[in-house]
Amino acid sequence: MTAVTEPLRVETDMQRDRAVTIFEKSKPGRRAFVAPELDVPKHELPERFRRAEPPKLPEIAEPEIVRHYNRLSKRNFDLDTGFYPLGSCTMKHNPKLHERVASLPGNSRLHPLQNPKRAQGALELMYSLQEALGEVAGLPHVSLQPSAGSHGELAGVLLTRAYHEDRGDQRTKILTPDTAHGTNPATVTMGGYEVVKVGTDEHGGVDVEDLRAKADESVACLMLTNPNTLGVFDRNIEEIAKIVHGVGATLYYDGANLNAVMGRTRPGDMGFDIVHFNLHKTFTQPHGGGGPGAGPIAVSDRIEPYLTKPQVVKRADGTFDLDYDRPKSIGRLRGFHGNYGVFVRSYAYILSLGADGLQEASETAVLNANYLLAKLRQLGVTELLPPAYDRLCMHEFVLSGAPMKRKLGLRTLDLAKRLLDHGFHPPTVYFPLLVEEALLVEPTETETKETLDEFAEALAEILREGAEDPEIARNAPYGTPVRRLDEAGAAKRPVIRQPL
């Protein structure tokens, strides 16, 4: 069976060749906006403030705007359309109910500075979400303020700083494993600390002896995720927590992989002090092509005094309020209260699934990942793409394309591009850095067994084809709106806006 080379095309050949921007579709005089009539005396700004030339925004009427963005949308692959096993991203189904509840006017037209007395529904929703997230994490004190995982990480590092400074303790370093997601070390730098890397042992977990050697009283924190970016659960987590707490440092949990463990274990019970959640991963907020998301945090008792303000609280009389009376708070990390629209969706998800459903989600995510790995073994795919660690995975697993590169002359990149022709979004490539030619696969729980089988078959097919003629994959994709792009040219001579 040869790969269908045109599964993603909705455009004709001729349409495909013409990427046209909305500015190029503009014509002076066209418009979509009709201003309300001026019902007051006209007043003008003093000349010295007035913009002389209007900005060169598009001039285009509604039908053409709609057509432009509709046509553009068809140049995107998306989760509602197909399988998206991007490791570390948890591309699970985005329930459609969530759009309906997020757009209720009581939510969407509510001003953040409305008197809390008149925003009780919103505050109760936030409070209930906090409680639920606290239960999932095993840490009782939650702030919903951070707007993404990275933002939550920054909050965690700043909370750690406040905690140490409050004790008169000057610490300068934060430890991260060499498998850490790039946001972790980037956050450490923004937090004013030095990054120190901790090694990984032969089972894929933290090298405990290396940690022991590096953990001293200059260390403020260890940032980890468990399961980690290799998809394995670190069995030594209790010992790790002991070492870190033993030197008085905090233990931070990057919640990117929380989808593996809900209801089975909790970061708070593993010994973590601070946890961030990615609501756009585990809790189904749609990714939107790069956000919005949210990165709420849950913390232990000893970190609670430093939490951002305001905090959403429940008063003795049962009403909900914003509490600004937090003398040790680190302050705020953004305006207003956070990405409330995201909270609405995540709260609806938690209500829909409940305790049983959340646990089932994690269990099925782990089942699906292990099954897919087993299927790949069955089909012989793992001969050329062996798993980096020969053990049970959790919700994701990482394969190494090194044998494939040696034997077929095909790189993980080529495999990924050929997968596009098969109608799948490729897994995450070249991360984590520890694994040569890495392919990080996370199917999530919302996929059927049939989809997993299809995906495994597609990988097997690409390898078979690659053994016969590696040039095909090296020049893939063929059927997508554009083929391989000149990224070097884009970086050398960046053109990041249209000249007008």
């Binding site: 509602d80 109910l97 939510n107 239960e135 209790e238 207003f336």
Partner: protein, 436 residues
């Protein structure tokens, strides 16, 4: 099996067999006994969709939104009209559900949107370089501060009293580990009174218009910056009628994008924009889309200058941001296309006229005076003869939310195109009653 998963009993049996284990529990064998949760999560059981909907509907009904009152609340987010086409485009699966465009061949829709958005923001601000979005306004201000600090290595920030309080607080919180200090520049008659700028200043932060609605003199401020970066938090909808930061020697323009096609949503999600002079391009935070061609010569777009970003540069990245606000930036772009070149001017002029009318009308009331006399665009501050909080309560009970208590006796009143002359007259009525 829930409504979002599909593993039947038969599926599970087959899958467990293929894996070579007996039960799901075996898959969690690596979780040490000591950390296993031996009970179910203490959460209610799952509910059918219609019950979830009912619960959410009941909660929403307990909020007093802009649907339920005539609102003049602003102070950073504004009740503008969001045109229907934005809803229909944003609900498209192809925009709503994909991830960040790491595989550009199948993400040309999202990448081209970013490119168009970057172009529009550059046009609005008059600065050549824009990224594809950050979270929102105040954290964009902090990100600009980070750029200024890493670029100049200087320890001081000068922050105008006219900067949004949330922006100042966010800068303070975010900079806790930078060994920088913040000094406040006072306002004089409503405008930033800069004075001399020392050699140790990394950046000067002002807002345009400022928090009290006054139009700042960016010419004078940029002339006095003495090697510091001038960072301006702008209100994007005013940039149709106000001289943009790019016409002055402003280094970075950031701001809150909510008023561009995004709803209030109790404060988020919206987006932050970040634009700068050419020389800062390699220090920019976040995603940037660039134009290029494919192997067959087709025009296409890719994420570019990625070596700035955390996934490549790690501890030396320009910023830690990964997920930003792409969908909200799309809404912003659609909105700017909908308004168009003429529309943004007309809307701005309408706001200027109605705002002027509102200030004139309200300051005629006994007990109301202007907090400052500077020209304003869409928001202004009033001094009241009674505590603002009290006045707001009184008016709210009568279905009019008069604005934000910016001080004990200070009321910040915001005007959008949805507040007609009639609404303004109604506000005057209740305000007069409140102060009687």
């Amino acid at each position: 099996m829930s409504r979002y998963t599909s593993a039947t009993d038969a599926d599970r049996l087959q899958m467990l067999e293929a894996i070579g284990v007996d039960s799901i529990d075996d898959l969690f064998a690596d979780v040490p006994e000591g950390v296993r949760l031996d009970r179910t999560l203490d959460l209610p059981p799952g509910k059918p969709e219609q019950e979830v909907y009912a619960r959410l509907r009941d909660l929403a009904a307990r909020n007093v939104s802009a649907e339920d009152e005539i609102t003049f609340l602003g102070a950073g987010m504004y009740d503008h009209y969001v045109p229907a086409l934005i809803d229909s485009i944003l609900q498209r699966s192809e925009f709503l559900t994909p991830y960040t465009p790491y595989q550009p061949e199948i993400s040309q829709g999202g990448l081209q949107v970013m490119f168009e958005y970057q172009t529009a923001i550059s046009e609005l601000t008059g600065l050549p370089v824009s990224n594809a979005s950050v979270y929102e306004g105040p954290s964009a201000v902090a990100a600009a501060g980070w750029l200024a600090h890493t670029h100049t290595r200087k320890p001081k920030f000068l922050v105008s009293e006219g900067l949004h309080p949330h922006s100042r607080e966010t800068l303070e919180t975010t900079s806790a580990g930078w060994e920088t200090t913040i000094e406040t520049i006072p306002l004089d008659a409503g405008l930033t009174d800069l004075g001399d700028v020392g050699d140790d200043v990394a950046a000067i932060f002002v807002a345009q218009p400022n928090f009290y609605g006054a139009i700042e003199d960016l010419e004078a401020l940029s002339a006095a910056k003495n090697g510091a970066l001038l960072i301006v938090q702008c209100d994007p909808l005013t940039l149709g009628v106000l001289k943009p930061p790019g016409e002055f020697d402003v280094d970075i323009a950031v701001g809150e994008g909510q008023s561009l096609g995004n709803r209030l949503d109790f404060g988020g999600p919206s987006f932050g924009f970040f634009a700068a002079q050419e020389k800062y391009i390699r220090r920019m935070p976040g995603r940037i889309a660039g134009e290029t061609t494919d192997v067959d010569g087709r025009r296409g777009f890719v994420l570019t200058l990625q070596t700035r970003e955390q996934h490549i540069r790690r501890e030396k990245a320009t910023h830690n941001i990964c997920t930003a606000q792409a969908l909200n930036a799309l809404a912003g772009m659609i909105y700017l296309s909908w308004l168009g070149r003429q529309g943004i001017v007309e809307l701005g002029e309408l706001l200027v006229s109605r705002t002027h009318y509102a200030r004139e009308t309200l300051t005629k009331i006994d007990g109301v005076s202007a907090w400052h006399d500077q020209p304003v665009v869409r928001e202004f501050a009033l001094t009241l003869s009674k505590p603002a909080a009290e006045v707001i309560e009184f008016c709210a009970e009568r279905g009019v939310n008069p604005g934000y208590a910016a001080g004990e006796n200070v009321l910040l009143v915001a005007i959008t195109e949805q507040r007609s002359k009639q609404d303004i007259d109604r506000l005057a009525e209740v305000l007069e009653e409140a102060l009687a």
